[in-house]
Symmetry: C2
Subunit: 205 residues, 2 copies
């Protein structure tokens, strides 16, 4: 109906998180109506994404600064005895916004919905274990974690992943905590208001 390029682009946008084919089509028609300069600005920014953005060697946060560590991992004032494991980048953003947590992060890259081995293998569990054991090897000097906070979403998937992580990390002999249940069950960390996040951080156990 809409021609090859448009169909192809609808298909590519449909793969974006939260986007279905109808929304994808609206994106394409929005782009068609953009001024030439506006589309070029988007293209240039997308191009520099792959050129400038790298993943932090320690926590996997995308960053653009010099070096191999992100701003947080580079910061000597951060508490390098605390490690907070989050599912995704935006969750880290939500926690940073409340300016309460002063430790280091680790981005797990997802949660699992089933307990299948393949699902767990998509997460960065192996990388997490190595970084807890030997932070210096991944660029984080003078770090020795005393507490690992598992800050995954309080959903079925997040709970299953937390349980699995607790078992996997037990042999490392670190204190393992979760965010307090100020978070409403079934909710998403990404959408929690700041006050709920704060009390959750306080009541971690």
């Amino acid at each position: 109906m809409f021609g090859q390029t448009i169909q192809k682009l609808i298909e590519l946008f449909s793969k974006f998180p939260t986007v279905g084919p109808r929304t994808a089509a609206r994106f394409v028609f929005y782009l068609i109506k953009l001024k030439k300069e506006e589309l070029e600005e988007l293209l240039e920014t997308l191009t520099s994404l792959k050129e400038k953005v790298r993943l932090c060697r320690f926590c996997f946060l995308p960053f653009e600064e010099e070096g191999e560590l992100c701003k947080i991992c580079q910061d000597p004032t951060r508490d390098r005895t605390l490690l907070c494991v989050v599912e995704k980048e935006t969750d880290l953003g939500s926690l940073e916004k409340i300016k309460k947590y002063k430790g280091i992060y680790f981005i797990l890259g997802g949660t699992v919905s089933t307990l299948k081995k393949e699902d767990f293998e998509k997460l960065r569990i192996d990388q997490l274990q190595k970084r807890i054991k030997n932070p210096a090897q991944y660029g984080l000097l003078d770090a020795e974690f005393k507490e690992i906070i598992l800050a995954l979403n309080p959903t079925t998937e997040g709970e299953a992943t937390t349980l699995y992580l607790e078992r996997q990390l037990k042999p490392l002999n670190k204190k393992i905590t979760r965010l307090g249940r100020g978070l409403p069950m079934g909710g998403e960390l990404e959408y929690a208001d700041e006050e709920t996040l704060r009390s959750a951080l306080d009541s971690r156990k």
Copy 2:
């Protein structure tokens, strides 16, 4: 927090229809995780969008074929006495899908929420009038419209725009109809099921 390129891209995606800053951020992190080839495919398709896609000289539908008219306007078997005015491209797509309407379309480019003059000026009302008066001048030969179907959404905005259009098109002395009220009030044409669309087309008055 997330670096210049990422922030810029979040900002650009936030302008996409239906997208807020949180979803925009998820888009960016999705793109960062794409393989190099996958991001390049997206970039190439976006580039060819501006190169290959043009707007139909008559109806304003984006198309990629040869010539200056889209497939529908080029098709000699379409009924060139019927003109159906829709708000946007996806509405045209919904109507084409039921394979019932065999006339020509015109994409108005929006509806208005207020009755301010500036709002109406954003719509292609002037272009619509000219195309009804003299279709041949806009590439549509042997056309003479007998009926104009105003197929806008049955929302407050769509109703206001329909009323305004009726007044504007009256001097042209054509039969002006609307889609029958099979469509639920407050609903969106884009999301109507096919049966509802069919009965709406039948009961136009």
